[in-house]
Symmetry: C2
Subunit: 457 residues, 2 copies
Amino acid sequence: MKDRQIPYKTYLDFEEIPKQWYNLRADMKNKPAPLLNPGTHQPMKAEELAPVFCEELIAQELDNDTPYFDIPDEIYNFYQMFRPSPLVRAYFLEEKLGTPAKIYYKFEGNNTSGSHKLNSAVAQAYYAKKQGLKGVTTETGAGQWGTALSMACSFFGLDCKVYMVKVSYEQKPFRREVMRTYGASVVPSPSNDTNIGRKINAEHPGTTGSLGCAISEAVEVATSTPGYRYVLGSVLNQVLLHQSIIGLETKAALDKLGEKADIIIGCAGGGSNLGGLIAPFMGEKLRGEADYRIIAVEPASCPSLTRGVYAYDFCDTGMVCPLAKMYTLGSDFIPAPNHAGGLRYHGMSSILSQLYDDGLMEAVSAKQTDVFDAAEMFARVEGILPAPESSHAIKAAIDEALKCKETGEEKTIVFGLTGTGYFDMVAYEKYHDGKMDDYIPTDEELAAYRAKLPKID
Amino acid sequence: MKDRQIPYKTYLDFEEIPKQWYNLRADMKNKPAPLLNPGTHQPMKAEELAPVFCEELIAQELDNDTPYFDIPDEIYNFYQMFRPSPLVRAYFLEEKLGTPAKIYYKFEGNNTSGSHKLNSAVAQAYYAKKQGLKGVTTETGAGQWGTALSMACSFFGLDCKVYMVKVSYEQKPFRREVMRTYGASVVPSPSNDTNIGRKINAEHPGTTGSLGCAISEAVEVATSTPGYRYVLGSVLNQVLLHQSIIGLETKAALDKLGEKADIIIGCAGGGSNLGGLIAPFMGEKLRGEADYRIIAVEPASCPSLTRGVYAYDFCDTGMVCPLAKMYTLGSDFIPAPNHAGGLRYHGMSSILSQLYDDGLMEAVSAKQTDVFDAAEMFARVEGILPAPESSHAIKAAIDEALKCKETGEEKTIVFGLTGTGYFDMVAYEKYHDGKMDDYIPTDEELAAYRAKLPKID
């Protein structure tokens, strides 16, 4: 057994929780490319975004220069419910692997939303309330983001309307009921509330919906209902800003323990968790103060960084949202139906895309069954049942720890454990029953999606 | 807004976690009545219990005198995964209620089993392993206890066989999959593995099972398989001993904050949570060092303390287990099918029954829809989605806090929040859809069950 001088879990004292978010863009030499108007292909201005998003969130979205943003008292107050989250030393996992590496994980799953999504949900709900809005709309797939947003809206007394992909609404009723507990109205999408929903229902009778359609419905309702705006749980710069609380707490806890990370690992779908976790570390790297290996882990079935291209693309399948420059598989891309859990987005946050393109971080992909192997092993030794998304990071952390075992290096590995898998037991059941496979898109399939990318000068 | 000098959450430092369990029986003047042999009606001896239970657990079960038991290092090591649990100051709830009372809750739900059950599961698995056993058997209803036990057995490398009531096995597959993730074999009960299972299947073709039948199957397998024993998650003295960690941590945290509890509230089914939470406080009361109001809260649909009788009764419907003296509704009693969640046991732990009979604690009952009203309000203001069981304590704490609002008294209320409701969303759905009712057994029904109690001199 290793010497256990460092506690299993480190909780910052409450007053040690960071009081500002960190805006990574301020330290980037190559700034992330701006959002473009889908009609004119010119950079979107604040006033063009105002019908869709809250004003203060637009200001955060467009600000590439201000390094720190104060966290408003009301948000800090809410953070007290579920923050600080623990930084856990994975002694049990280290012993299981027999690695000389030190493994830490930042566990963001100990809240009712079950993930890190709550960090941004509370911020977005707060600014909507502050602007005097009545409510917000959003879309959700399995319900992780919708749950987080409904909790935040309930707290601030804001109406919350969630368009939930119909197949999830019907087959995964548990998160739907959590959202209803928090007073959200949850609408199966496509609905008959909207023009786009009615159109899709007419054209595809009996359709079970898609995330792209749900986004279009949520945006339509937000822009056509007085006092409403649309909110989004990942991809956007503002979301990464709010999620920087993850990395700032992680860094503060490591500093308190006298530890320095060598490798930082996070799963990546739209990029909100990874962007938040790495923020202060990448900041040091950008400023030349320290060096870290930073690794994004994505599913082999949705490999935007490892097999996509860096180009302007639509953020939604409806092609009504602004264009973003990102590593993308094409806005039509949908992972194979056998793909469990989240990390299904066709593109990657513009910030992370630029950092990756600049060679400042690495990316790897992991196959689904390997991810569940890692998840189950982790659950058994560390006691936490991880979300499939988070388990991508576990898989990569284990791989790095096993490399250290070969080389004998005592590296310090930090990964983000974004959430729990309590609402993903259907995927675990498939895994236990040997019904999970590893379909990976072919080069031909990816080329076909890529051919449909918009042409931007 | 109240002055917030005290932090929202208090985590003990790891080295402050108690290193011994406290055995409340040592300070009881009137000891709990002994278990009786169902054949001879004589007190059960250790050797009679040995075919069913682990030796060291039997010693703990029968020991009414030793006040403290050292927590073995191996158990303490496991505790590091999920303990200390936080003591939370419910500022948000206090503000919602507008009460001068101070409300604290000890939150035991932040672990994968979702409840306090893990505290005893790890102890029972450890002693089984120490005895050189191959495995343990148990029964589970919705799966809370089975999940906790499977986690503990996985950690110690012990085989774990869980007989799960068939209707839950089929209709609530999520916890079943959690158990499988931890390597347990989960068998729908009645099965064809056992004599009793085959008999029940033959007599009642298509039966969906009962907890009583699952207990009988688990006991039969444990006593007929070399290297196996049976373990139970509540009711027994040994379980209350292990659960004293809840109360000891609560007391240590309150002491650290300079707070003194006035009222301590816990939900009560078999009594493991309540017995654990109140242990050190009741100890002080028994020794005349302090006084507390201690309140057990039970469902109005399963009111063993408030409407049962104090008498010897069978612990199981199969009537093969020892007889226990307890407040009981009769071993045939099953709550109405509309009753959601746990707290379904027909009797109450002998320790708590004796304390209640001696006037050392109070008991109240709560109706199901009132409990869910309290649960939803709590979820919205405190951010934690509570288990239906735990919500009985929330309901009573709210009632006491509202009394303080009337009188202006600034009492300190402490309650146990035993777990989360993530696997109880079907019950929440019924509540949201207005399909939950409040059936309460009539006096005539209770009298009929009571008439079947065994006659013991």
